[in-house]
Symmetry: C2
Subunit: 238 residues, 2 copies
Amino acid sequence: MKSDGSKPQYRMLYEILRRHISESVYREGDLLPSENELCRLYGMTRPTVRQSLACLANDGYIRKHQGKGSIVTQPARDIGILSVSGTTSAVGNRNLKTGIIVKPVLKQWPADFMFPLSELEKESGCIYFERLRLLDEVPIFYDISFIANINLPRITARQFENKSLFSILREHYNIEIKGGEQRIRAISPSSKISKFLKLEKGQPVLHLERKIETSVNGFFIYSSIFCNTRKYSIFGRF
Amino acid sequence: MKSDGSKPQYRMLYEILRRHISESVYREGDLLPSENELCRLYGMTRPTVRQSLACLANDGYIRKHQGKGSIVTQPARDIGILSVSGTTSAVGNRNLKTGIIVKPVLKQWPADFMFPLSELEKESGCIYFERLRLLDEVPIFYDISFIANINLPRITARQFENKSLFSILREHYNIEIKGGEQRIRAISPSSKISKFLKLEKGQPVLHLERKIETSVNGFFIYSSIFCNTRKYSIFGRF
DNA sequence: TATAATAACTTGTATTTACAAGTAAAAATA
DNA sequence: TATTTTTACTTGTAAATACAAGTTATTATA
């Protein structure tokens, strides 16, 4: 019995509860309503409710304890770029600004790209752009993004300033981020990166190489992210 | 109908399939048997089989595609210290050696510990040790571990050389690792770390601060890991 | 032959039911 | 009163069933 046309029930409850946790309706340490109570409250059956809770637990919003209940664990998720939700939504209430350094252009993939590419990806080239992201006016991330040029009309004309790439993809192209993989290294920054991130001499940076999977088969987003971890740190769960 | 006394069915199937993938019975790109086939093969119902597959997908061993099936994605998981399986099991076939630099001793927690501690943890002190881990004879990790001193008889007397801490906990104390959280930074190493990891001058290191959750309520393992990411990189899924 | 419709798969979502196992508070017992 | 037992919760595991939705190969049609 799908009451809504688009999203599955468990997903809707997941989003409701996640929002409630984010907005401190349920605070850290609180017990969520029991599974049976949630069933009554939202008119679902227990397996459905449990599917929502499993997602929440997976994302680190709650912790389940047999016999006790589901405990809210709002993780002070530093700058949780490791989460799938994208930089903008992950930083929470901090003031995040995004400046475009290189506007989106269609070009060839670099010769030695950091991830292997499919033939289709190679042929169609990529949309390339560079962004600098500031947290409370301090430059923290330098993002270099590569998007396979597959059926994204007018993407190069879009305004990326202070917007999440993921939200643009979701709203205008109906593409959802599903997950991905990444490699993490500590490196000495190039002078270009050093300049943009306003680093002191000798200050190392974190380098992330990410391949992000979407709801569209074979469509990936790649990014190379340089991160100043002096004040903030990357936070993740496993 | 629990056919085995200890572990749930879905967990057993999960472990069987994971071993098959690790041992290349199923290779990367292969389709796993369909859910209904797995039901017949292992005498379970589809919800149970699906629970196993959900775990596998979660850990990045397979990728599910509606209408197609479950595709094996053996991730060339570099040195997947980010996975929950622990360093030793995560490096796969590479030659991993572990040397003890500071033998396990019971001591007080450091004054400014990297994670907040419960009262119980504070009172009971911690077991402290330092290890150097080499991959193909090259020092890669410098691990500093802190284990809450809660009911672990004879732990300081145990032989940690070339053994995974997690396997010791599992075999001798019946404690399983459930997950955890971590912070990641790029730092300039201290001279001590630099010496042990045989770093060139100016070579930065990755610094992980991890809080690892176990099957025992309130029992956590903490570790501070310094990692040389020049040759290898940390790999993770999200 | 090339295209479109169909059928036979696959996984995704959801319900219903049942019992096991852990937790905590209430009740009975010493 | 202090301890133990019971009871009433909680989540965990598992079955059987049904249909939706995506994929692929076959079959029918142009």
